[in-house]
């Protein structure tokens, strides 16, 4: 059993960090048991390495044959499917597009069976109120308009009456003036005496 601070087999296979290797080095120098154990491991390791590698009896190689090579489109397609990152990006893009389409083109949610009756009742009430309001507004407007018309007619009649009175006064005065002129003429004619030489 080794008393080394770290496994001597990790040391042998160079799987220890530099600091740990230094500690094992120092320990092995001062510990006879661990020194012997490490030597046994090294001998076993070097014995195993005496079994050398063989040469390959026949070279392995491939030839390029256009018939068997994938087309450019197929290569792009394979590259796409073989890349998890590209697949993930494409999936995210598709989900985004689907969300956008759903947001912009979705229809109003369907109502339950009782809701249309309630809605039609509301619509009838609204229509009745609107009709009443319109009728009232029209009546008020007509009333206002007829009042204005009556006032205008009254004012026009007054103006006409004043004008008529003024005209009648003028006519009367003119008639009186003519009457006076006539009277004066009649008087003059009556008092006229022909001259004596003419007799």
């Amino acid at each position: 059993m080794s008393c080394s601070p770290f496994d001597l087999r990790d040391y042998l296979f160079d799987e220890l960090a530099e600091e740990k290797r230094r500690q094992v080095d120092q320990h092995v120098r001062s510990c006879g048991g661990c020194h012997e154990e490490l030597e046994r491991l090294r001998i076993t390791h070097s014995t195993l390495l005496t079994l050398r590698e063989e040469e390959v009896p026949q070279r392995i190689g491939f030839v390029s044959d256009k018939v068997f090579e994938p087309s450019g489109l197929r290569r792009v397609w394979q590259t796409f499917w073989n890349s998890s990152a590209k697949l993930g990006f494409a999936s995210a893009a598709m989900v985004s597009v689907a969300l956008l389409l759903f947001t912009f083109f979705r229809q109003a949610p369907a109502m339950s069976s009782g809701v249309p009756v309630y809605t039609s009742r509301i619509e009838a009430q609204v229509a009745a109120r609107v009709s009443a309001a319109v009728e009232k507004a029209v009546t008020e407007s007509e009333t206002r308009q007829s009042g204005k018309t009556a006032a205008l007619l009254a004012a026009a009649e007054q103006r006409f009456e004043r004008q008529r009175e003024t005209d009648m006064l003028n006519v009367r005065q003119s008639f009186e003036v003519l009457q006076k002129h006539y009277n004066v003429r009649e008087n003059l004619i009556a008092r006229y005496e022909p001259p004596r030489e003419m007799k």
């Binding site: 014995t47 390495l49 590698e53 063989e54 390959v56 070279r59 392995i60 491939f62 394979q78 073989n82």
Partner: protein, 187 residues
């Protein structure tokens, strides 16, 4: 103009664009390691070569799935590991599961050519053959292929603690098995 060595990620990028020659250059860099890994797993040269070709073909077909070209080695050996165990499953009769001891004991690769004294090579091969399949693969990946524990965990698709457990249990067995052989054959 700045010259630099063409590295694996450069070749991988070219191969991804359909440059077969770049991929062949990449194969030439890795075929020996992959072949020897498979040879020590399956124990047969012909099978190891066939599997190696399958591994590199599958790697080419899936090269675009490799996220980080710097992690090419563990990714390639993960394919090799899967191909090797897939071939073992195909060899088994239908409905029968692959026992973990399938690689050990009697199925020692007998036709691996020795590069060192024959006795020592036989001793190493025998000792490796006595290991559990998982333990033997851990030894191959660590000692013969030089992978780090994290890379081994990636290749074998298991936690680092499992990888270490398999490797260190195997090492204890090998230490016992090979100690006399070392004294006989290697100074």
């Amino acid at each position: 103009m700045i010259f630099r060595a063409v590295e694996d990620p450069d070749l991988i990028r070219k191969a991804r664009r359909g440059d077969v020659e770049a991929y062949n250059l990449l194969i030439s860099r890795w075929e020996k390691r992959v072949y020897n890994y498979l040879l020590r797993i399956v124990g047969d040269r012909e099978d190891a070569l066939d599997l190696s070709q399958d591994v590199f073909l599958k790697a080419y077909q899936n090269l675009r799935k490799l996220d980080d070209p710097a992690r090419f080695a563990p990714w390639l050996f993960r394919i090799a590991h899967n191909e090797a165990f897939s071939s073992f499953r195909k060899r088994r009769p239908e409905g029968e599961t692959v026992p973990q001891s399938d690689f050990a004991g009697d199925d020692i690769p007998a036709n691996v050519s020795p590069a060192f004294p024959i006795e020592l090579s036989i001793a190493v091969t025998t000792a490796l053959g006595k290991l559990h399949a998982d333990q033997r693969e851990a030894v191959i990946l660590k000692i013969y292929q030089g992978f780090k524990f994290e890379e081994m965990a990636e290749i074998l698709s298991c936690p680092v603690s499992t990888v270490k457990s398999r490797l260190y249990t195997a090492l204890d067995v090998l230490k016992t098995q090979l100690a006399p052989a070392k004294s006989r054959g290697v100074t």
